[in-house]
């Protein structure tokens, strides 16, 4: 286990060290101490390393992640795992706005609550939130799965494309063109896998599925009010 003191050694040193690991090094487990809410911790990683952040972070933690596993033992500021391509990011606490925004792949697990705009414009990422999510989550979501064990706020899945949303609790309101959909066996299988991989204590059958009504894909003057 390698330990990096962020307060003593600085952010640039941390990210360049982690980014240079290309799978050939045996230094695959890292612990970052004294994060103190700093921004852009462990961004742009591209190797199968294991990074644990011992505390809360600021903006963009684990942004653009590929292959790496990043675990935050605290809460995260806006934009955690933004544009993630692959790998796993686990947040033990809460996440601020736009967690997992524009993510293309990988798994983001938030064990507390996520606030507004979680999964906005998601493009293939899987996001599992153990608590609640705020308003405008998965706005324009294109692909991937957003799983919520708690409740969803206003306008879930507004203007979404083919992303799937599974919510166990209540949904305050659905966004434009987002509807409740039938839960078929293949969805139960997807959920079972995501719940198991994210350490969530819930049964797939307890969830409802939401997704696009596919009415806003192409401009139709009769829908002008909905845009």
């Amino acid at each position: 286990m390698q330990t990096y003191d962020l307060e003593a050694n600085g952010l640039r040193g941390l990210n360049s060290t982690l980014q240079e690991l290309n799978g050939s090094s045996n230094k695959t487990a890292w612990e970052i101490v004294n994060p103190k809410g700093s921004h852009a911790i462990a961004v742009g990683l591209n190797s199968p390393v294991d990074v644990t952040v011992k505390g809360s972070t600021g903006y963009y933690c684990a942004g653009m992640n590929q292959q790496a596993t990043v675990r935050v033992e605290g809460s995260v500021g806006p934009g955690v795992a933004e544009n993630m391509m692959s790998g796993t990011v686990i947040v033990e606490g809460d996440a601020s706005q736009y967690a997992g925004a524009t993510g293309h792949g990988g798994l983001l697990v938030i064990k507390g609550n996520a606030s507004s705009r979680c999964g906005i414009s998601m493009k293939g990422i899987d996001i599992v939130v153990h608590g609640n999510i705020g308003h405008m989550c998965a706005f324009m979501g294109q692909a991937g799965n957003l799983v919520v064990l708690g409740n969803a706020g206003d306008a879930l899945g507004d203007s979404c494309y083919e992303a799937r949303f599974f919510v166990r609790g209540s949904v305050k309101s659905l966004g434009a063109d987002c509807i409740e959909k039938e839960m078929r066996p293949e969805h139960i299988e997807i959920l079972k896998d995501l719940l198991a991989r994210s350490g969530a204590d819930a049964k797939p059958e307890e969830f409802k599925r939401y997704g696009s009504a596919r009415k806003l894909y192409n401009f139709d003057v009769d829908n002008a009010q909905a845009y």
Binding site: K36, S56, S96, S116
Partner: protein, 298 residues
């Protein structure tokens, strides 16, 4: 972008350290707002006295003999404490408005930053660290305080455009965001006799709260009103003589973190601002909900 910090103490033993803690929080928020900074401190109450904090771009001239001149104009005793470009004038309670009118005559270029029993406001253009140093904010004690680091968007980088804004006795407000209906609301409030001195959008927000409270609203009710009557983006943190409030607009795109322990309630635009507070590891830390009013009273 702007930075906000706020600290409302529950534990009296922390009061001598209020300025010190707020200064550290303020400096941490420098990269959110490096062009100006300001702080409102609610200090101790001197029974039967009102404090007016004034500011001048030519302080030596403006403050020279000001206490004597004001004492003569009001036919009462006045004391003055000069701190860099600011001065705190101490007048008998009930003489605040009269003093304001006299000051406008005696020193036309001087600005009144705040008036009240306990509030003092210090703000200037410059890096937060330099501004805090000029006024020795570290040495200040008090029950609660609010600080702001500004990155201007809606109006010029000037002292009067810096936050906090005070539009009523012992009231202050700081803002991260931008209001879009401030011009029409300013005209409406001015017609109703509310004093608004700049073209800044935030001052209209502060004046709105003052106006609501003048019409009988509590701080909480006034904050509720902002959700209906103000259009735009805002995180507001407000102070009154014994209260501290927070509200975010329904879109809530401006960042906010709060922390509460048995000793204090703290606000920061980012968690970074809170990391050195005592007992933060065990504090309840949360992101305030959109369109939800939070307030605390002593």
């Amino acid at each position: 972008m702007c930075g906000i910090v706020g600290l409302f103490l529950k534990d009296k033993s922390l009061e001598p350290k209020l300025g010190d803690m707020l200064t550290d929080m303020l400096i941490t928020m420098t990269d959110r707002g490096p062009d100006s900074a300001g702080i409102a401190i609610y200090g101790s109450e001197a029974g039967g006295r009102t404090k007016l904090t004034v500011q001048s771009d030519a302080p030596e001239e403006a403050f020279d003999g000001l206490d004597g001149a004001l004492a003569e104009a009001l036919s009462t005793d006045v004391s003055i404490r000069v701190i860099d470009t600011h001065a705190v004038l101490d007048v008998p309670a009930g003489k605040g408005e009269e003093a304001r009118a006299a000051l406008a005559e005696l020193r036309p270029g001087m600005r009144v930053m705040s008036a009240g029993d306990t509030i003092e406001i210090y703000k200037e253009v410059g890096l937060p660290e330099k501004v805090a140093e000029r006024f020795n904010v570290r040495g200040m004690s008090g029950t609660h305080g609010i600080g702001h680091t500004r990155m201007a968007t809606e109006s010029a980088v000037t002292t009067e455009g810096a936050h906090p804004f005070s539009t009523g006795s012992d009231q202050c407000l700081v803002h991260n965001g931008s209001l879009s209906n401030h011009n029409s609301l300013r005209r409406k409030l001015q017609r109703d006799g509310v004093r608004i001195e700049s073209q800044n959008d935030t001052e209209v927000g502060a004046a709105y709260l003052t106006w609501k409270m003048q019409h009988g609203a509590t701080l909480g009710e006034a904050l509720e009103g902002t959700l209906e009557d103000l259009d735009g983006f805002f995180n507001f943190v407000v102070g009154t003589k014994d209260g501290f409030g927070v509200v975010r607009d329904p879109i809530a795109c401006k960042p906010a973190v709060m922390a509460e322990t048995d000793q204090y309630v703290a606000f920061g635009s980012e968690y970074r601002a809170l990391v050195n507070l005592p007992g933060i590891e065990d504090a309840r830390v949360w992101e305030p909900e959109p369109a939800t009013v939070y307030f605390w009273n002593h």
